[in-house]
């Protein structure tokens, strides 16, 4: 017993130290992120956006939409994408071997006609079976291909894309009307920019006018409310800060804008992972670092894309499991970059950070809980101390959420009602009581499933944009 005592306490201390360091890092990122918001808010010129809209200044964009079984939402999503404020763009929907009526819905809604299409197969993909063109919207292209997963569908769409910029977009996402305009401006103003990620926020609870988000209310379920906080916090756990630091590793799959040529050059999206978005960004970094060519991969704190988040705990756990496996897959594929000075800040800081503080975080967290329980069971731990530690952790979690709610407050038209704000503040308290622990456990489990469930997606249910609809339909990919 006495041998174990210091061990358990040491483990507890290690966990404590780990979170102390993590929080120092959050502080740093939070500060850098806020600074970039403060400066960007002042540099942002409405005039520049107006000029872009009114003159022929833009870079045309191909919007790529991989879709599997999305019969409920696909028509509304494509409508919303077609109504973007942008002078020249095309929408390419890649139907990845759907087993439901996704394709038929599109054919009916947009008067699609089948039309063989020659294109350059710059990236190898599963066979494309048919291509369609809309009689009503000259800038809509739909392709049907054999099922090959999301990355494969994206690659097929990249092959068909004819414009210099590509935007990878989830079928259940809705873009802010000016999202692409704001992002593409950066490509125009700086030729070294190869990719831009935008802020993603949960769509659940949004109100629509004309296929666009017109107002944001707090969603109905607590699971969704917690996620509103999580997406807000993500801002502090890195993206903005890393971007300023020149080592942004994640551009969310829900919305990223890339130059097409470099994406083709590095071989497109990798089909061997369930997190093709992160992996592609890492590969782009790697490519440019190895070539020694100056480049920039940026994050813009502008809120620009809304995506539907899971509305039940079951789906959410599945999603987080997948994300976590994707993180490990990416880190494993590029493991030689970790602690490798050849890759600069990326190799010495960003990659190790993701390994230690993202990939291993659930392991440490679960170990912490286990040690605590053990300690309590064997009476190694002073109960009031333990309770206070738990209290401290809960409070700190609330603190981060609160900071995120504060950032939301500075955004126009975000959860404007007092009731909404109040609910978010309350959610910040409640999420520490179970929700976080369940997700930590799920990610902990995912860590040990990486090899066994390689490339496996698991069903995703959609509840539908714009009007939430019941009876979701499971759809194995």
């Amino acid at each position: 017993m006495t041998v174990w005592h210091p061990l358990v306490v040491a483990a507890e201390l290690a966990v404590l130290g780990y979170f102390a360091v993590l929080n120092v890092l959050y502080t740093l990122f939070g500060y850098l992120g806020l600074r970039s918001v403060v400066t960007e808010a002042r540099q942002q010129s409405e005039l520049a956006l107006k000029d872009m809209l009114e003159r022929d200044l833009e870079m045309p964009v191909s919007i790529l939409v991989p879709a599997h079984n999305e019969e409920r939402t696909i028509v509304a999503s494509v409508h919303s994408m077609l109504s973007l404020h942008y002078p020249e763009f095309e929408v390419i929907v890649a139907c990845d071997g759907p087993t439901d009526a996704t394709l038929q819905r599109l054919i009916d809604a947009f008067a699609l006609v089948e039309e063989p299409r020659l294109y350059r197969r710059a990236i190898a993909t599963r066979p494309v079976l048919r291509t369609f063109r809309s009689l009503r919207h000259p800038n809509l292209v739909v392709l049907e291909k054999e099922n090959g997963g999301k990355a494969d569908a994206l690659n097929a769409a990249v092959n068909l894309a004819r414009y210099p910029l590509i935007a990878a977009l989830d079928a259940d996402s809705v873009l802010d009307a000016e999202a692409i305009l704001r992002a593409s401006r950066r490509f125009l103003e700086d030729e070294a920019v190869v990719a831009i990620g935008g802020t993603i926020r949960p769509l659940n609870g949004a109100e629509f006018v004309d296929g666009r988000v017109s107002a944001l209310r707090v969603p109905r379920r607590w699971v969704e409310r917690f996620q509103v906080l999580e997406y807000g916090r993500a801002f502090f756990t890195g993206r903005s800060g890393w971007s300023r630091f020149g080592a942004l590793l994640i551009i969310s799959g829900a919305f990223g804008l890339f130059r097409r040529d470099p994406v083709v050059e590095v071989g497109g999206f990798w089909t061997g992972t369930v997190c093709e978005d992160m992996e592609l960004v890492v590969r782009l970094h790697r490519h440019y670092r190895e070539m020694g060519v100056p480049y920039r991969i940026l994050f813009t704190p502008d809120p620009i894309c809304w995506t539907e988040v899971p509305s039940t705990m079951r789906q959410l756990r599945r999603q987080r499991n997948r994300w976590h496996r994707g993180l490990w897959e990416t880190l494993w594929r590029h493991r030689d970059m970790i602690w490798n000075p050849r890759y600069g800040r990326l190799g010495m800081l960003a990659m190790p950070y993701f390994l230690v503080f993202e990939a291993l975080a659930p392991v440490v967290e679960v170990v912490g809980y286990v040690v605590l329980v053990l300690g309590l069971a064997f009476d190694f731990v002073n109960v009031p101390f333990a309770l206070m530690f738990v209290g401290l952790a809960v409070l700190f979690g609330m603190l981060l959420s609160q900071v995120a709610v504060g950032v939301e407050t500075m955004l126009l038209a975000r959860y404007p009602r007092v009731r909404d704000r109040g609910l978010l503040l309350l959610a910040a308290v409640l999420e520490s009581l179970g929700y976080r622990q369940i997700l930590a456990l799920e990610r902990f489990a995912a860590t040990f499933q990486v090899r066994r469930r390689r490339g496996e997606w698991g069903p995703m249910r959609r509840t539908g944009i714009p009007a939430p609809q019941p009876e979701p339909e499971p759809s194995p990919v």
Binding site: E115, P164, E189
Partner: protein
């Protein structure tokens, strides 16, 4: 869009809160490590822990309060601002219709905002007349004074304001600012404002000399070519004198030359078609491609530019061949049809596509060649491409044409 107030204060609050937290966590870690080694008594640890919980609780409370107070303030502030803006709109409309006096300087923020928005709302002569009114009221002097301020934010706001207002008198100070501003953001905003101002100059010697000064300043501004290109497009009718003689500008960087040539094409400046023609054989392939694209956009091949096009059809570099193929539609039929027929058999997909599209744009003789190619071009890929473009044309008659960009 982000609100532009309260964010700095919030940043400070967050920084303070986080610093306190980091220190607290640090102290706790140290104390507990000592405790493990038996160097810190339990009572001290307990107190430290209670302190940490208390501090964190206070921090959460402070942030919550800030959010609620900010929310409340924002609501009343925004309501107040909206009514202020309306009141100021009235002041300016009355001044415009000469039923009220010009407001005294300095203007409060909503007064300036309302004036600038009205300036932007009114087109053509109306807009210029209203700008004159703003200037008589003293808005120009006021903004120029802010431009010399030491505060970066004030300077940025002044630049934005001048961009909206487009006062002729601000043009030279803006150019000076492009030359001297410390950051790229400011240089960019200053050149945007200058370009918009120059675009409003009436034709005449003033516009000519302004354009020359603008061209020289832009060339040395160090702005990225994409941004410079954007500025050139903003010039609108004032663009020709700026773009007339890019090669006369000493040490013009190649990307800017490309941007200039590109702008000539995008603005469709027929009178300047000699400029792209002159650089169609430039050693830099990007410049060659831009020149060919510009001529394609304008739709004329001046002088002996046709020879450059024919030569570029065999360029080693794919994207130059693509642009040459697009411009080849402008060659005399006798030359164009066989050249494009050959292009259909090019190893590059993009060149084949461009050849087929150019043929399609040539009207009936082109369509005939395209149909013949679809039936009996010796190259299988050429036959496929011809058939594809014929189908595309049938599917989208009258809809969007072929891709303008998108070449590798």
């Amino acid at each position: 869009m982000w609100r532009r107030y309260g964010d700095a204060a919030y940043g400070l609050l967050v920084l303070t809160v986080f610093t306190v937290e980091v220190v607290t966590l640090g102290v706790l870690t140290v104390l507990f490590s000592m405790g493990l080694l038996g160097r810190a008594p339990g009572a001290v640890l307990g107190e430290a822990l209670i302190g940490a919980v208390g501090l964190t609780g206070l921090a959460v409370l402070a942030l919550t309060l800030y959010v609620l107070v900010y929310h409340g303030l924002t609501r009343s502030r925004e309501r107040h601002q909206a009514s202020q803006l309306e009141a100021w709109t009235e002041v300016w409309v009355r001044a415009l219709y000469r039923t009220g006096p010009l407001p005294p300087m300095p203007l409060p923020r909503p007064g300036l905002r309302a004036g600038l928005e009205m300036r932007e709302l009114l087109g053509g002569e109306d807009g210029r007349a209203f700008a004159g009114l703003l200037e008589r009221a003293g808005v120009g002097d006021d903004l120029l004074a802010s431009l010399r301020s030491r505060g970066r934010v004030r300077r940025l706001e002044a630049l934005d304001g001048l961009g909206w207002a487009r006062f002729p008198s601000a043009f030279n100070p803006l150019l000076d600012h492009v030359r001297t501003a410390p950051s790229e953001v400011e240089r960019l905003m200053a050149s945007r404002a200058a370009a918009r101002t120059l675009a409003e100059f009436p034709a005449g010697p003033e516009r000519e000399s302004g354009a020359a000064a603008f061209a020289g300043t832009l060339a040395r501004s160090g702005l990225p070519a994409g941004a410079a290109g954007e500025m050139l497009l903003l010039l609108d009718k004032a663009a020709p004198p700026v773009l007339e003689r890019p090669l006369a500008i000493p040490e013009l960087p190649v990307p800017l030359l490309r941007a200039g040539v590109d702008a000539i094409g995008r603005l469709g400046l027929v009178d300047l078609s000699e400029v792209p023609a002159g650089v169609a054989a430039h050693p830099d392939p990007e410049v060659r491609a831009s020149a060919l694209r510009a001529m394609g956009r304008i739709g004329t091949l001046p002088g002996d530019a046709g020879e450059s096009v024919v030569r570029s059809l065999h360029d080693d570099i794919e994207f130059v061949r693509v642009q040459a193929t697009r411009a080849a539609g402008l060659l005399p039929r006798r030359t164009a049809l066989p050249a494009l027929w050959n292009g259909l058999g090019d190893p590059s997909w993009w060149v084949r596509r461009a050849s087929a599209e150019s043929l399609h744009r040539l009207g009936e003789p082109g369509a005939l060649t395209l149909r013949q190619a679809a039936a009996r071009h010796p190259d299988r890929f050429a036959r496929d491409m011809a058939a594809q473009v014929l189908r595309d044309a049938a599917a989208s008659t009258g809809a969007a044409g072929g891709p303008e960009e998108g070449v590798a």
